[in-house]
């Protein structure tokens, strides 16, 4: 009961959330069987994002994206901050680490049959080099070609054995190989679904059915850039998070947003001011587009954000710090 000057007021009818978002730890220190200097733990929220006056809020982590091959088609603006190191994934990863990334997301883009078709052994070697070059945890993302990914994942997971990486993705139609491999080498899993909360739940059930703990999964509900259907993803993430907080274990996973790849694919980031002068300087506009996209995902439950530009990294880190620190107690009468 709320009491005011001895008079009994209306009963407290606030209903607590029945559930809590699982925590997922990525990386393993020497004591834990890996070689990382530190680990990253995401999730753990007991209420909606940044409402920390109401309950525990997990702190979102930021990963920076590194490719196994030189990213030929990235805009010059995106290559500029890194320069020559982009020809060497290990050096590129080291640069991202120095810029303040919490994790490295190594995308094995060069293993795609249309992009060099690198072999499983080559992919495994790259993973080893990146692990050696940086002390922070690693996300390993396949080439996007399901058949090829099933070919490279066993070697990649083995090369990273003990490091407790986050590896993805599994989908409703292709989950058995990677789930088995992550079980065997004790890695965490990214479960992908095409902007669909029902399928997000389904993929988790399928992985659990193979004996994989749903507490070791991160949901990737797919991502979209600001202006390109982001609000659809937002709604899916919101529904998943509300269900998870209400106690649905199959939707109580932390969520990952692959922002860089989307934001840098749209014309707002790619077109120079010489083409559309009223849009202003691309140098500022493009990283801002990336950071703005990420900020939207932070407030609907994004726990792990993947970015490309160091300017966006700094901006998003600042946003996280401000949102996490700015909470105030609700006004009392």
């Amino acid at each position: 009961m709320l009491k005011h000057e001895g008079v009994q007021m209306i009963p407290d009818t606030k209903k607590p959330w029945g559930g809590r978002i699982h925590t997922v730890t990525i990386g393993a220190t020497q004591a834990e069987g890996g070689t990382r200097a530190s680990t990253v733990t995401i999730g753990g929220s007991a209420t909606l994002p940044f409402l920390n006056f109401e309950g525990a809020c997990g702190k979102p982590a930021i990963a920076m994206e590194v490719w196994d091959v030189y990213p030929q088609d990235w805009p010059d603006l995106l290559k500029e901050p890194f320069g020559e190191v982009m020809h060497d994934p290990a050096k590129w990863a080291k640069a991202c680490c120095d810029m303040g990334a919490d994790l490295i997301c190594l995308r094995l883009a060069g293993c795609h049959p249309d992009r060099g078709n690198r072999s499983a052994a080559q992919a495994a070697e790259t993973v080893k080099q990146v692990l050696k070059a940086v002390p922070i945890p690693l996300i390993i993302w396949g080439s996007g070609n399901a058949e090829k990914d099933n070919d490279i994942f066993p070697a990649v997971a083995e090369a990273a054995a003990g490091e407790n990486c986050l590896i993805g993705t599994i989908t409703e139609g292709n989950y058995k190989t990677l789930t088995a491999v992550c079980t065997a080498y004790k890695h965490k899993l990214i479960a992908e679904s095409p902007c669909d909360v029902n399928i997000a739940k389904q993929v988790n059930i399928l992985a659990q059915d193979m004996g994989f703990s749903v507490e070791n999964i991160v949901i990737y509900p797919t991502s979209a850039a600001l202006g390109y259907g982001l609000e659809y993803i937002y709604s899916v993430m919101e529904r998943a998070r509300l269900a998870g907080l209400k106690g649905d274990r199959m939707l109580a996973q932390p969520m990952l947003c692959d922002v860089g790849i989307e934001a840098w694919g749209v014309k707002e980031a790619r077109v120079s001011e010489t083409v559309i002068p009223e849009w202003g300087a691309q140098r500022h506009r493009a990283p801002l587009w990336e950071a703005s996209t990420a900020s939207v995902y932070l407030i609907c439950g994004g726990d792990l954000i993947i970015l490309r530009h160091p300017g966006a990294l700094q901006a998003v880190k600042k946003t996280v710090a401000e949102l996490a620190g700015a909470s105030v107690a609700p006004a009392t009468a």
Binding site: M1, P11, D12, T13, K15, P16, G18, G19, V197, N198, I199, K201, Q202, I205, L206, Q208, D209, M210, G211, S213, V214, E215, R239, A240, A243, K246, G247, D248, R249, M250, L251
Partner: protein, 274 residues
């Protein structure tokens, strides 16, 4: 989230359990604990039936259940001394963990001391809508007594989340019109407050002495869920019942659909893969 399932099987009225209580045979009891926990019970009802009238036996039974599981217990008795013995034994065994008092009626001689016990032991409580005048035969009387129990519980300091109202399910074979009255009462009880109290039934009563027990139980459960029921004492080991409940939750939008929702429902208890 989801319907709160109270497993009915640890009851001395069942021959095997009654015999186990008299012989102090833990393994029979703990076998039912494990089976019902695996089936997804949210509470395990513990009742001596006619097996014994000795509070020490009840304390033994409560301890035997509580020490072998993390699933909360529903302390099911009639006499006040049985409740206090059972609750004390439970708290001594498990410390802080949810517990349910099953049940009080609207009679002051029971309601007042049991609400005090609920408050003392941080227990939730089921209030059955009957009093010294007996069981209600219509909707209004059910609501009147439900309202009385609800108000008394709030005054005693309980939150709405700790209050379960039971509109008294009656055998369809003998009191056919009551089946519909109970459904209407459930719907109206959901309007007692916002958020509403839990509404729970002793389900198997509806099918008492019938030939089609499982079908009647299952059908009635689904109808009651649609009216707002969110708890029941029932046979949680009835797989078809569990599937019907899972489906009702999906159809009412209480759970997010997935193609493998039945699998998810089965696994929600311990998360142990099938």
């Amino acid at each position: 989230m989801g319907i709160i399932l109270i497993g009915e099987r640890i009851n001395g009225s069942f021959k095997d359990v009654g015999k186990a209580i008299q012989e102090k045979n833990k393994s029979v009891i703990q076998d039912w604990v494990a089976k019902q926990a695996t089936a997804g019970a949210d509470y395990l009802d513990v009742n001596m039936g006619a097996a014994s009238r000795n509070p020490d036996d009840f304390a033994w039974l409560v301890r035997t259940v509580a020490e072998s599981t993390t699933v909360p217990v529903s302390i099911d008795a009639n006499r006040l001394d049985m409740f206090s013995t059972g609750l004390k034994a439970y708290r001594e065994t498990v410390g802080e963990r949810p517990v349910l008092i099953n049940s009080t009626t609207a009679e002051d001689s029971k309601l007042i001391p049991l609400l005090e016990m609920a408050s003392q032991y941080k227990a939730s409580i089921i209030g059955v809508v009957m009093d010294e005048r007996g069981s209600p035969q219509d909707v209004d009387r059910r609501l009147e007594l439900g309202g009385k129990i609800f108000a008394a519980a709030i005054d005693a300091g309980l939150s709405t989340d700790q209050i379960f109202l039971d509109p008294i399910v009656m055998p369809v074979k003998f009191m056919q019109e009551q089946a519909k009255n109970v459904l209407n009462a459930i719907q109206q009880m959901t309007m007692l407050s916002d958020p509403p109290p839990h509404i729970s039934v002793g389900l198997s009563n509806v099918a008492s002495k019938t030939e089609e027990k499982k079908l009647i139980n299952r059908t009635y459960m689904v109808m009651a869920i649609a009216m707002g029921l969110d708890a029941a004492i029932l046979n949680v080991c009835d797989e078809e019942m569990m599937q019907a409940i899972a489906t009702a939750e999906i159809l009412l939008g209480q759970e997010i659909y997935s193609d493998a929702y039945l699998k998810a429902y089965r696994q929600r208890a311990g998360g142990a893969p099938a």
